[in-house]
């Protein structure tokens, strides 16, 4: 493999993801759900728009998850599929989706950790299906993306002067 595998998602995928996350937020009363890919890129945000810089948040989330993954291996666990960071007022719950994406749920005292966790099982299953279909789809890899900037060499040259 020359480089890392790539993926892209369509508007329809995006709508499905949003619908699943909205239903989840309603069910557990959490404030906001973010999907971050394992490389630190923000995929989707649903619910209350966060007040912080979401790009920085996404990169830290991925680093947090990756570091914990390595800690898991060190103590003989294949992974920590979910993590909880509990604060006095604000807390977050992180869960693995399809081994490629991280679900981050932000919640406050209006929600309970138990409910956030229990309901997360269902939404993670649904998201796993969406993402696995996306990854398996023919052309979801580099071939489809190749076409995106095909013939744009001049434009790329111009962009960089």
């Amino acid at each position: 493999m020359a480089g890392a595998a790539s993926w892209s998602f369509s508007e329809n995928d995006f709508k499905q993801i949003q619908a699943h996350l909205q239903a989840y937020l309603r069910d557990c009363n959490a404030r906001c759900a973010l999907l971050v890919d394992r490389n630190g890129q923000l995929v989707a945000t649903v619910g209350e728009m966060p007040q912080f810089d979401p790009t920085a948040f996404a990169s830290l989330t991925a680093a947090d998850f990756s570091a914990n993954d390595q800690l898991a291996k060190m103590i003989g666990e294949p992974e920590f599929a979910s993590l909880v960071h509990q604060g006095e007022r604000e807390s977050m719950y992180l869960a693995d989706v399809a081994k490629r994406v991280i679900l981050v749920v932000l919640f406050d005292r209006r929600a309970t950790l138990g409910l956030v966790k229990i309901k997360a099982k269902g939404v993670v299953e649904n998201l796993n299906k969406v993402f696995e279909e996306m990854f398996n789809r023919v052309g979801a890899g580099p071939t489809q993306k190749k076409g995106l900037l095909e013939g744009a060499e001049d434009e790329i040259d111009k962009l960089f002067g």
């Binding site: 890392a4 920085a56 830290l60 960089f160």
Partner: protein, 224 residues
């Protein structure tokens, strides 16, 4: 692993600045942060020790412009250069689209450069990435220092070239940044390829944007 978001019309790519400790990786990002308009860059995150040595990574998102209606957003990361932080360094490489190796030109740091380059090859190989096939640019930093090694010595030690076996690529390819030099050429009967390189004095900002542009362009060209 570049990610294309058709909903927000963005192309997201990950660039990693690699190299030995105190070589100037963080300085590169700080210069970019200081020079790019706040409208086109995000917040810079530094996970550093109290003495400002990178502990985990620095992170800076930058928008470099729009192509075919897609915003090109580059996520710039540095790794901790110190040898014993290899576990963290490896994590940052995951999903990388392009690499900048920031070498410290000082003669005394030659061994540290070579060790870090070897470490980069090893860590990439563990992920199954081939450094000779992904966008890769070398920056020779600290060119202003009196003890800076000559470029040809640095090139010989850090960028000696790799064999080009694909017949389609076996053609003399001039290095646009260095007239008279080639990125691909026949040497001693064998075709060899080398990474593009740029000279820099990152504390003054010299060569910082040339390096960033060179690697970003290579990354976008992999999508074309």
């Amino acid at each position: 692993m570049s990610m294309i978001n058709y909903a927000s019309r963005e192309i997201n790519c990950k660039l990693v600045y690699y190299g030995p400790g105190l070589g100037g990786k963080t300085t590169n990002l700080e210069h970019i942060y200081g020079k790019v308009s706040p409208n086109t860059r995000g917040k810079m995150i530094s996970l550093a020790t109290e003495t400002e040595r990178t502990l985990f990574f620095d992170f800076l998102p930058v928008d470099l412009g729009t192509i075919r209606g897609f915003k090109t957003r580059f996520h710039l990361y540095t790794v901790p250069g110190q040898v014993y932080y290899n576990a963290s360094r490896k994590l940052i490489l995951k999903g990388v689209d392009g690499i900048v190796f920031v070498a410290d030109s000082q003669i005394e740091r030659m061994e540290a450069n070579v060790e870090s380059m070897q470490n980069l090859y090893d860590n990439m190989a563990e992920y199954g990435y081939d450094l000779t096939k992904i966008p890769f640019v070398i920056q020779y930093n600290k060119r202003d220092l009196p003890n800076a090694a000559p470029i040809k010595d640095l090139q010989a030690a850090l960028n000696p070239g790799w064999p080009i076996e694909d017949g389609a690529q076996q053609k003399v390819t001039p290095d646009p940044a260095h007239p008279g030099e080639n990125l691909i050429e026949k040497a001693g009967g064998e075709w060899v390829g080398r990474a593009a390189y740029h000279e820099a004095v990152a504390v003054r900002g010299d060569g910082v944007f040339d390096t960033l542009k060179a690697v970003s362009k290579l990354v976008l060209k992999t999508l074309s």
